[in-house]
């Protein structure tokens, strides 16, 4: 177990993952405290997504340990999942359901009762689209719905895979803003991207080749 | 001797069963051997290819 568990929320050491024949990363480690961000950089196919999936526990590592709040994540899946929200290029939204139905499902699975939905929807520019099936929304709007789910999840740890794709400049600014807000509230973000982003928060970087 | 082989009319059934068993066992062995040889050959080819390309 890492020594300074009090300040570190998410930490990892000795991560190693092979995909078929290729070694995506080896002996990888990091440590993040409250309000800190990890930026995973690299070209497409360099293993950014795999690293994020491995942190989330969707992918099993060849070796290495990940700790969330001082507990090994593999043995405390439930604790990690309750604190974590996941955003990837496949949004995980149902296109036949309406915006509200989609968000309500996530809230129900998390056991949340919330009443500030409207404020968040307003901030993300989704006001007035509540009753539309997602199919009728633009790709950018669909991404904003996924962001709304992230914001509403009350999760402390955000794992975001390419959060800036499919968004216009305003949307990208919005993502930056909600990440900064999350970090200020003491959250932890792991962001995989090939964009150059500047977020004013303590940031660690991992470059994958 | 031929009585033993004929088995009172059941010889064809018994000996075909035995023959089938022998064939299947030999086939299993042959298949296993062939697979092993193929694995060795594949690895060898891969090895030479990487050596040649380096």
């Amino acid at each position: 177990m890492p020594a300074n568990t009090l300040t570190e929320l998410l930490s990892a050491s000795g991560l190693r993952l092979f995909r078929g024949e290729r070694c995506l990363f080896e002996n990888l480690g990091f440590a993040l405290g409250a309000g800190e961000m990890l930026l995973v950089e690299g070209a497409n196919g360099s293993g950014k997504t795999s690293l994020l999936r491995a942190i989330a526990g969707l992918l099993s590592l060849d070796s290495g340990v990940i700790y969330w709040r001082g507990q090994v994540t593999l043995q405390n899946r439930q604790a990690l999942c309750a604190d974590m929200a996941w955003l990837s290029h496949r949004l995980g939204l149902k296109y036949d359901l309406t915006l509200v139905e989609n968000l309500r499902l996530d809230a129900a699975l998390r056991g949340l009762v919330r009443d500030d939905d409207n404020e968040v929807l307003d901030r993300l520019g989704l006001k007035g689209l509540e009753r539309l099936p997602l199919r009728a929304l633009s790709a950018g709007q669909q991404r904003r719905v996924a962001l709304a789910r992230l914001v509403l999840s009350a999760a402390r740890l955000w794992l975001m895979d390419e959060p800036f794709t499919n968004l216009d400049t305003a949307g990208q600014l919005l993502v930056r803003e909600i990440i900064e807000r999350k970090l200020k509230q003491g959250g932890v973000c792991v962001v995989a991207t090939h964009h150059a982003i500047d977020i004013s928060a303590p940031t660690s970087r991992i470059k994958l080749r | 001797m031929s009585d033993t082989l004929a088995m009172g009319g059941y010889g064809a059934y018994v000996w075909s069963s035995v023959g089938l068993a022998v064939i299947v066992l030999i086939l299993c062995a042959v298949l296993a051997l062939r697979r092993h040889r193929r694995v060795l050959r594949d690895i060898g080819m891969q090895l030479r290819a990487t050596e040649a390309n380096e």
Partner: protein, 232 residues
């Protein structure tokens, strides 16, 4: 104690939420539920055309045909159980949700059964009638089919989870699950045949009920494990 109650109600809320979602989705895409039903009806009508219209013969084979058709229709419908969730990334969200995955999988299988299995059960007396199955047997037919299709949905969800990412998954699912489904077929069809002959059926019903409980309680764990593997 308080905590336990809290977590139990959370579990039920999660189960209800996932069932609600899948029912809602089925409601918005009725074709997915109707196709297996049509398949069921068609297989059942093909059979008399192939064997001849003798009522006596039809009564003899009827229960078996109804059951084989129900089995195939259920498996056909199961192909899509996790497919759309896998494709749009919802599966990631389900696996990463704080609810235990076996519970969510159970909910999905139950919703799937409500959408495809239940209509099939409700339609079966209609088809059984054309095989001149006497009306006093309909109760047993529907009861056994209810238990049977529910077990098959549970069993089949394991296969659906194992084959979800594979492009050749369709035929594979049947190949994996059909041998495992044999007990359901045997007991279901035999029990109905016994009922047609006027014999006691309670043994068969009890066994089907036991098997149904068995699959409902155990298969979600296998399905959840398989889903996690397939989604890697």
């Amino acid at each position: 104690m308080k905590e336990l109650e809290q977590s139990e109600s959370d579990l039920i809320a999660g189960l209800v939420a996932i069932i609600r979602r899948d029912l809602l989705l089925a409601w918005k895409r009725p074709g997915d539920a109707v196709n297996p039903l049509m398949f069921y009806a068609m297989v059942c009508t093909l059979f008399p055309l192939a064997t001849g219209p003798s009522a006596e013969q039809l009564l003899q084979y009827g229960p078996g045909v109804l059951w084989v058709a129900a089995l195939l229709a259920t498996l056909l419908a199961l192909n899509g159980l996790f497919l759309s969730d896998y494709e749009d990334g919802s599966l990631d969200q389900l696996i990463l949700s704080p609810q235990p995955l076996p519970l969510l999988v159970l909910g999905k299988a139950l919703a799937h059964w409500l959408v495809t299995g239940l209509p099939l059960v409700l339609m079966s007396p209609l088809l059984a009638m054309t095989f001149s199955v006497p009306s006093n047997v309909m109760g047993i037919l529907m009861l056994t089919l209810t238990l049977g299709t529910l077990s098959l949905s549970m069993l089949g969800s394991i296969g659906a989870a194992l084959t979800v990412g594979l492009n050749r998954g369709n035929a594979l699912l049947s190949l994996l699950i059909l041998p495992l489904a044999m007990p359901v077929l045997i007991f279901g069809a035999r029990t109905v045949s016994l009922a047609v002959a006027g014999d006691a059926t309670s043994a068969g019903v009890y066994i089907l009920a036991a098997y149904c409980m068995f699959t409902v309680s155990l298969s979600p764990f296998a399905t959840a494990a398989a889903l996690k593997i397939s989604n890697e």
